[in-house]
Amino acid sequence: MTLLDVTNLTVRYGALTILDDVSFSLNGGQWLMIVGPNGAGKSTIVNAVSQGVPYSGEIRYLDRDVKCYRSHELARNIGILSQSHFVGYAFTVGSVVRLGRYAYAPGVFSGNRAEDERMVEQALELTGMTRFVDQSVLTLSGGELQRTFLAQLFAQDPRVLILDEPTNHLDLVYQKQTFELIQSWLKTPGRAVVSVVHDLSLARAFGTHALLLDKGKTVSKGTADEVFTPEHLDKAYEMDVSDWMLKMLGQWTARRDETAESR
């Protein structure tokens, strides 16, 4: 089942073309990794899907143009996590997460309070933010803030997650937990994930599919195996990617071998 279908997406700021004729589609159960060097247009795809930038081309959800959906209808189906968060006022974690339920009660008197509270509690627990519920977001660390908005997203309970750098600000423990959390979230049929990821190892490990961009153009797309080849990556990043990755990894394997020997 095709959930999201993006065709000929082009975004221009004046004379500058940020995204040039990019197409991809997303089926249930898939995790699409959008990768590419800085300035490739990765976040712009996220902004276009969330109607944050004017674009040409078409973005369809369940075979209907996303522009035809009402805002709250779209939010119930597609959830978006921004790359960075800056909150100006001392809102509590609880009230930020609770806003995730807005799409289910856009009117004053609509909505199911018991269901809302159940989802909020569950989202807080999943992201380990329950004990912060009454704390001001201004006092949180970057990682805790990121998890707060991840909780808001889970409270929103969409079918497609679009994550712009979901592990931004997160240390290794939470990187691992976040990706595993999303992976288990994806097991429910009819769900799919798109994420912009910088870390190619994470993208390779968790993505079922990938879209490799460079300077707004598609370099390669398809299954993760098809996209993450040395030729494609070297072309997009203009360096020997696998050589660098192995060198990075080598430090750890060498150290681990030494420790094993000394034992």
């Binding site: 969330s50 109607q51 944050g52 930038v53 004017p54 009402r70 805002s71 709250h72 209808e73 779209l74 939010a75 119930r76 959830g79 978006i80 996590l81 921004s82 968060h85 800056f86 909150v87 100006g88 006022y89 001392a90 809102f91 509590t92 609880g94 009230s95 930020v96 609770r98 806003l99 995730g100 807005y102 799409a103 856009p106 004053v108 509270e117 909020v120 509690e121 807080l124 627990e125 999943l126 992201t127 380990g128 933010m129 329950t130 004990r131 519920v133 009454d134 201004l138 998890r147 908005f149 808001q152 929103q156 423990v173 939470y174 937990q177 976040t178 595993e180 959390l181 288990s184 979230w185």
Partner: protein, 361 residues
């Protein structure tokens, strides 16, 4: 899913009741705030160039409410014709300007936002000044000239600012609106100076009015303010939850499903209409909309479902006290209320801003 819980320590999970706490304004708080407001109203009616005994004031108001015969005393006209309408107008203006300020600060996610940041206040005052300088009046309705002109110019200003912002930036981003608002205010104040230069015989009434004053406010003024506050205030309060989302970020508001452009447009219109009415009656009273939200936020928190109702009371109390100071400080001379609010407001603002900066770092 439970084993994927991200809680490192996996310790104390807050009880559900802690999470399920009400987000709105409780009945107890409404009663408390109402009592405080009523007390300040009473104080402001009693105190002035002539101090009236509380018992006598109460009796005059009581008799007037129930249509009883009034005694022959100086206090009757002072309370009923001078102080009461003025205090009511001041309270309503304070409530309206503060709610507008609070809504703007949330909507634009900018703690320095205010009705005047939009350029709407200056636009409204330009309309009113034109009415005074060129003697624009409507036959039969005594204060209609300035009111109609101020409201018309408030709307016109909003129209100009929004269409300029829309031309520059499709998403009507908040920074664009503030930038254009500030530039527009400067432009308008240059025109104001020009008009004042030419209409030299009206200078006194114009300057007194641009400083803001509710001297000589009538029950008609109060009724107009009340109607505007009820209609526009209801619209603004209706969008309290959306304002929370905007205050977190405009992107976040869009992501959770708020129809961003429509809500922003409705709120901007409601705010400018309310400011237009306030300016037409009391002149430009600076700093109220800027400072009261900061003070009230310290008491009730940033959640607009609580902040906005609290602002109605807090704004009324703040402006009534400022007006009291304006009346009695240099007795029998009366200061324009805008001088007092700007003076207190600027100092308070520096203190609040300094404290909040220090708390954050």
């Amino acid at each position: 899913m439970r084993r994927n819980r991200m809680d490192k320590q996996g310790d104390a999970i807050a009880s559900p009741s802690a999470i399920r706490r009400t987000e709105g304004f409780s009945a107890r708080e409404i009663v408390l705030f109402s009592l405080a407001t009523a007390a300040v109203v009473f104080l402001c009616v009693c105190v002035g160039s002539v101090n009236l005994p509380p018992g006598e004031t109460l009796r005059v108001v009581w008799n007037a409410v129930w249509g009883l015969e009034q005694p022959e005393a100086m206090s009757v006209p002072i309370v009923l014709s001078v102080r009461l309408p003025r205090v009511i107008c001041v309270a309503l203006s304070g409530a309206a300007l503060s709610v507008c300020g609070g809504a703007m600060q949330g909507l634009l996610k900018n703690p320095l936002a205010d009705g005047s940041t939009l350029g709407v206040s200056s636009g409204a005052s330009l309309g009113a000044v034109i009415a005074i300088a060129f003697g624009v009046t409507l036959p039969g309705v005594p204060f209609a000239g300035t009111v109609v002109m101020a409201m018309a110019f408030a709307f016109l200003s909003l129209l100009i600012i929004l269409s300029l912002a829309y031309k520059i930036d499709y998403s009507l981003s908040t920074n664009t609106i503030i930038l254009i608002g500030v530039i527009y205010s400067m432009f308008v104040s240059s025109i104001l100076s020009l008009i004042i230069t030419f209409a030299s015989d009206h200078v006194k009434s114009i300057t007194f009015w641009t400083m803001g004053s509710l001297l000589g406010a009538s029950y008609q003024n109060a009724l107009l303010l009340l109607a505007a506050l009820v209609i526009c205030g209801a619209i603004i309060l209706r969008y309290a939850r959306e304002l929370n989302a905007f205050a977190i970020s405009e992107d976040n508001a869009r992501h959770i499903g708020v129809p961003v452009r429509r809500v922003k447009l409705v709120l901007l219109i409601a705010v400018s209409a309310l400011i237009g009415v306030c300016v037409s009656i009391g002149g430009t009273i600076g700093f109220v909309g800027l400072v009261t939200p900061h003070m009230v936020r310290m008491i009730v928190g940033p959640n607009h479902q609580r902040l906005l109702p609290a602002l109605m009371f807090g704004g009324a109390i703040f402006l009534m006290l400022a007006d009291l100071v304006a009346r009695i400080l240099l007795n029998p001379l009366e200061l324009p209320i805008g001088v007092v609010t700007s003076f207190i407001g600027a100092i308070l603002f520096v203190v609040i801003f300094y404290r909040s900066r220090r708390a954050r770092t």
